[in-house]
């Protein structure tokens, strides 16, 4: 028995069969199965998801737009304090958040701000190290929040700038996770940035029905 060619079956995905082709399909289970597979393939292609672009595309686009005068430099609202904040956060997150991401959030126990053990080098167990990181993280954020309260009141403009900055971080970490989904350090950055963004959006009374930018 001569089967229908794949090209013919590919045509029948969205065009009616000729009488002879229909008769063959009626009696040939193999060709019916192939046609069904081609229909599934076509449907699967139509439902392919969008793809996150690599993170280095945006900086290249922005640079070109600036060169052409199509993009103005962003306004730096309250820049100094948030720059300091971001620098501190980045330094902390470079090590600390990894344990939080990998081990989860164990801390129902209150942070002990005085707990910065001198014996860090003696920690030999990964679980103990993760626990230490979580304690340090909690103490760090407690200190940071107090610093923010004392340093200067934060205006809505500052918060929006911060939310935008965190969004940029999430764009990058999200793309990085696409490539290395199990990497604990990248997970740590991503989760911490997510938490900070949510906190910032709550502070500016974010209305979820409207974009914040």
């Amino acid at each position: 028995m001569s089967h229908l060619s794949l090209e013919t079956l590919a045509r029948l995905v969205d065009e009616p069969a000729e009488a002879e082709e229909a008769a063959h399909l009626e009696m040939c289970a193999e060709c019916r199965a192939e046609l069904e597979a081609l229909r599934d393939q076509t449907s699967d292609l139509a439902h392919l998801p969008d793809l996150e672009p690599p993170p280095d595309i945006w900086p290249a686009i922005a640079a070109r737009l600036r060169e052409e005068g199509l993009l103005r430099e962003p306004r730096r609202a309250g820049g100094a304090s948030w720059l300091r904040f971001a620098a501190s956060l980045a330094l902390f997150l470079a090590g600390g958040a990894a344990g939080f991401a990998v081990r989860g959030a164990p801390a129902s126990e209150p942070p002990d701000a005085g707990l910065i053990p001198a014996s860090i080098a003696n920690v030999a167990d990964v679980d103990e190290a993760a626990h230490l990181l979580e304690q340090t993280r909690a103490a760090y954020f407690a200190a940071l929040n107090r610093y923010a309260e004392l340093a200067e009141p934060v205006g809505r403009g500052d918060l929006m700038t911060r939310a935008a900055a965190l969004e940029s971080i999430l764009l990058t970490t999200g793309a990085a996770l696409d490539q290395a989904p199990a990497d604990p350090v990248i997970n740590g950055y991503h989760l911490s940035a997510l938490a900070q963004r949510e906190s910032t959006l709550r502070q500016i009374s974010f209305d979820p029905s409207e974009p914040w930018y």
């Binding site: 089967h3 229908l4 794949l6 081609l38 392919l48 945006w58 103005r72």
Partner: protein
């Protein structure tokens, strides 16, 4: 903020508005261009080009169509223009080896990976027609106009591309498939 307001601010060069438009539409633009390109480095170049062209052309966007539709057309044209530029260049120069890294990720299903890999293996014209028709939903008339071929050629290329995809996917999922099944 509505998209119209964002676009208006983006026309004035406001960094946050242009970033917001990018964040909102970049995955769709990149997916289209990446699949047309069949190659990461080309896709990155063409995606950059598409966005620069779009922001340049923003003053001409009058809202007669959806912004996403308008942007998508620019993306497709950038990819097709990029293709032609590359063809002209490779006519003069020795072709460079092109690597196609496909990173496995937690969220990509095996099926999606197989589809993306099979798309990359199609000859360029077949891939373009298949992506434009079966992924992007273009008609054969629209494909003919975009590629400078008649609609009949687009149809013929589509059927060949679907058949080739089927062979590639079958080979990927059933490496021990019997030869000679369902052939004329």
């Amino acid at each position: 903020m509505t998209e119209a307001e964002l676009i208006d601010r983006a026309r004035r060069g406001e960094d946050s508005a242009i970033r917001a438009l990018y964040r909102r539409h970049a995955p769709r633009v990149y997916a289209t261009i990446r699949r047309l390109a069949g190659d990461d480095s080309l896709a990155e170049d063409w995606a950059q080009e598409a966005w620069v062209r779009a922001i340049r052309a923003l003053p001409t966007f009058r809202g007669d169509s959806q912004f996403s539709t308008w942007l998508h057309r620019i993306a497709v044209n950038s990819a097709l223009h990029g293709r032609r530029a590359r063809l002209r260049r490779t006519e003069r120069e020795a072709p460079l080896p092109v690597t196609v890294p496909v990173g496995a990720t937690g969220e990509r299903t095996l099926l999606r990976l197989q589809l993306e890999r099979a798309l990359e293996q199609l000859p360029e014209r077949m891939r373009q027609v298949l992506v434009l028709h079966d992924v992007e939903g273009y008609t054969h008339d629209e494909i003919g106009e975009a590629l400078g071929v008649n609609p009949g050629t687009s149809k013929s290329q589509l059927f060949k591309a679907r058949a080739r995809m089927r062979e590639l996917l079958r080979a990927a999922s059933e490496p021990a498939v019997q030869e000679g099944v369902c052939r004329t």
